[in-house]
C-alpha cells in the first residue's frame, strides 16, 4: 500500500492557480524527492497535504485514509508530519520546549520524556543546547531541531520542505545523512528540495513539478541522468 497518494490536486490562492491537477504517490518506506523551480508548487503541495491550505479539487489519501479536508492536528495525529520551509523553530522558546511541542499530542508524560530523550540521543548537539532559546541556534542546528521536533510526534510520513536551504555544503551533507538514518528506521519521507543533487543522492524516486503539475517522475538514478533534469536542476551537463 502506498503511504501517500495525491490525485488530481488543485489549489487556488486568491487569483493564483498554484496546483493544477497534481498527482503523485509515495510508497511506504521510500524517500521521494520533489524537485522544481521557485513557484512551481512544491511548498503548496506540502501545505495542502498537511492541511494548512484547502485544495479546491482532488484527493489526498494517507495510509488508505482520505485526509483531504482533515484539520492539521488530525493529520499530525494520524502520523503525517510537516517540517515547514525555513525551519520555523519557536525562537524564544528553549530547545527543550520546542521538542516538547513536537509531542503536543503525546498525553503520557513519561512517553513524551522518552521520545525527547531519543531525539537527544540521535542529535547530541541539541542535548547540549537544551536550555538555550531556539532562535540562538545556528541554521544547521535549527534544521536539526525542526526535524527532531517532528520526530517527537512519532511520524510514519515526514514532509520536509527545503531542509538544505541556506546551509553550508558540509551541513547539508549531515542533514541529508540524518534524513537517510530516519528513513532507515522505517519513516517514509517526502523531500522537497531545490538542491536536486543532494536530494537525488538519498531519494529512491523523484518527481519534477512544473507549473503546478508533475512534469516528470521516476527512479532517482534515472532522473539524475535525465538530460532535462540535468539541464534545469543539476547545473548543466555532467561528465
Amino acid at each position: 500500500m502506498a503511504a501517500l497518494e495525491i490525485d488530481g490536486l488543485d489549489v487556488h490562492y486568491g487569483g493564483v492557480h498554484a496546483l493544477r491537477g497534481l498527482t503523485l504517490t509515495v510508497g511506504e518506506g521510500e524517500v521521494v524527492a520533489l524537485l522544481g523551480n521557485n513557484g512551481a508548487g512544491k511548498t503548496t503541495t506540502l501545505s495542502a497535504v498537511s492541511g494548512l491550505v484547502r485544495p479546491s479539487a482532488g484527493t489526498v489519501v494517507f495510509m488508505g485514509r482520505d485526509i483531504t479536508r482533515a484539520r492539521p492536528e488530525a493529520i499530525v495525529r494520524a502520523g503525517l508530519v510537516h517540517v515547514p520551509e525555513g525551519r520555523r523553530v519557536f525562537s524564544t522558546l528553549t530547545v527543550h520546549e520546542n521538542l516538547q511541542l513536537g509531542g503536543h499530542l503525546v498525553r503520557d508524560q513519561a512517553e513524551l520524556r522518552r521520545r525527547v530523550e531519543r531525539v537527544y540521543a540521535l542529535l547530541p548537539r541539541l542535548a547540549e543546547r537544551r536550555t538555550q532559546q531556539g532562535g540562538t541556534l545556528s541554521g544547521g542546528e535549527q534544521q536539526m531541531l525542526a526535524i527532531g521536533r517532528a520526530l517527537v510526534s512519532g511520524p510514519r510520513l515526514l514532509l520536509l520542505d527545503e531542509p538544505s536551504m541556506g546551509l553550508a555544503p558540509l551541513v547539508v551533507a549531515s542533514v541529508m545523512d540524518l534524513i537517510r538514518r530516519i528513513n532507515a528506521e522505517g519513516v517514509t519521507v517526502l523531500l522537497v528540495e531545490q538542491n536536486a543533487k543532494a536530494a537525488l543522492k538519498i531519494a529512491h524516486r523523484g518527481y519534477v513539478i512544473e507549473d503546478g503539475r508533475c512534469a516528470l517522475g521516476g527512479p532517482a538514478a534515472e532522473l539524475a541522468g535525465d538530460p532535462r533534469v540535468v539541464e534545469a536542476y543539476l547545473g548543466g551537463a555532467r561528465p
Partner: protein
C-alpha cells in the same frame, strides 16, 4: 507614604488582573481587545445579579459569599469572552489587523449599550460592601477585606503564570503567540487554544469586576471603559504580551496614580496615567519587560 504605597498596590492589583486578559489575548492573536474592559463591567453586573438572586447576604458572611460569587461570575464572563471571540473575532482572523481593531471597538459598544438596555443607565449599588475594620500596618490603614482581595488577585495571577510557563496548555499558547501556522503543524488545535485563552482572560476580568463592585460599592454600564484603557496602559508599561511584565505594569500604574494624585490632585489622576502611556509608547513601546525577539534566519 506607606498609605500611598498600599493604595497604589491595591488599585494596581485590579489593573493587573484586567491587564492580564489584554496581554494574553494580544499574545495569542495580536489583537487589542478593546471590549476587554466591558467584560470587567459584565463581571460586575453578573456578580450583582447573582447576589440579588441569592437574596442578600447575612452579615459577617460577606467575604465567603463574595468568593462563591466570584467563581460563578468568572465562569459566566469566561464563556462570554469565548462567545465574543467566536462571533466577532474568529471570522476575521485572516482579515487585516485594522478590521479586527474596529470590530473590537464595536464589540465594546455592543456590550456597553447592551448592558444599558438590560440593566438601565442608572448606577446600581452593590449589595455587598467590603468596609470593615481597619488595622494599622506600618502607618497605613489596611482593611482585612482589602488584604483578602489582594490575596485573591495574587493567587489568580500566580496560577495563571504557572499555567503559562509550566503546562502543556501554556506551552501551546506561547507557541501560537510566536507562530500560529507552525503551531498547527505540531498538532495544536489553534482555534481551541485561542478559545481557552479568551476564557481565562475574560474570567480574570470578571473576577476583577466583582471585586471592584464590592469594593467601590457602585457599578454602571460604562465602568469598563476607563479601566479598559488603564489596563491597556498597564500592559504597555510592562510589555504587552508578556505576563510577568503585565503584572508589574499593573502594580506600577497603581503606584504612579497613587503618588500622582497626591502630588497633583485627584483631578489629574487620569491625565497622569495616560501621560505615562504616551511616554511609554514613544520612548519604549516594548515596555519594561517586553522581549525583543532575537531570530536568526
Amino acid at each position: 507614604m506607606s498609605q500611598l504605597i498600599w493604595n497604589g498596590l491595591f488599585v494596581g492589583s485590579f489593573y493587573a488582573l484586567v491587564a492580564l486578559g489584554y496581554t494574553m489575548v494580544y499574545g495569542v492573536m495580536k489583537l487589542l481587545n478593546f471590549a476587554h474592559g466591558d467584560l470587567y463591567m459584565l463581571g460586575a453586573f453578573t456578580g450583582f445579579a447573582v447576589l440579588g438572586a441569592a437574596g442578600g447576604v447575612p452579615p459577617g458572611m460577606a467575604l465567603p459569599a463574595l468568593l462563591g460569587v466570584l467563581v460563578v461570575t468568572m465562569a459566566v464572563t469566561g464563556l462570554a469572552g469565548v462567545a465574543l471571540e467566536r462571533v466577532a473575532y474568529r471570522p476575521l482572523r485572516a482579515a487585516p489587523r485594522l478590521s479586527l481593531l474596529i470590530t473590537a471597538v464595536g464589540a465594546s459598544f455592543a456590550l456597553e449599550y447592551g448592558m444599558r438596555a438590560v440593566a438601565g443607565a442608572e448606577p446600581r449599588v452593590y449589595p455587598v460592601r467590603l468596609g470593615g475594620s481597619a488595622a494599622e500596618v506600618l502607618g497605613a490603614r489596611i482593611t482585612v477585606q482589602q488584604i483578602a482581595l489582594v490575596v485573591v488577585a495574587v493567587l489568580l495571577m500566580t496560577g495563571l503564570n504557572l499555567l503559562v510557563t509550566r503546562t502543556r496548555e501554556g506551552r501551546a499558547m506561547r507557541a501560537i503567540a510566536l507562530d500560529p501556522r507552525t503551531s498547527a503543524l505540531m498538532g495544536i488545535n489553534v482555534d481551541a487554544v485561542i478559545s481557552r485563552t479568551f476564557f481565562l482572560g475574560s474570567a480574570l476580568a470578571g473576577a476583577a469586576g466583582v471585586m471592584a463592585g464590592a469594593y467601590y460599592g457602585k457599578i454602571d454600564f460604562l465602568m469598563g471603559f476607563l479601566i479598559g484603557l488603564k489596563a491597556f496602559t498597564a500592559a504597555v508599561i510592562g510589555g504587552i504580551g508578556n505576563i510577568p511584565g503585565t503584572m508589574l505594569g499593573g502594580l506600577l500604574l497603581g503606584l504612579l496614580e497613587s503618588f500622582g494624585t497626591w502630588w497633583l490632585g485627584g483631578q489629574w489622576r487620569d491625565v497622569f496615567a495616560f501621560g505615562v502611556l504616551i511616554l511609554f509608547l514613544t520612548v519604549r513601546p516594548t515596555g519594561l519587560l517586553g522581549e525583543r525577539v532575537t531570530e536568526r534566519v
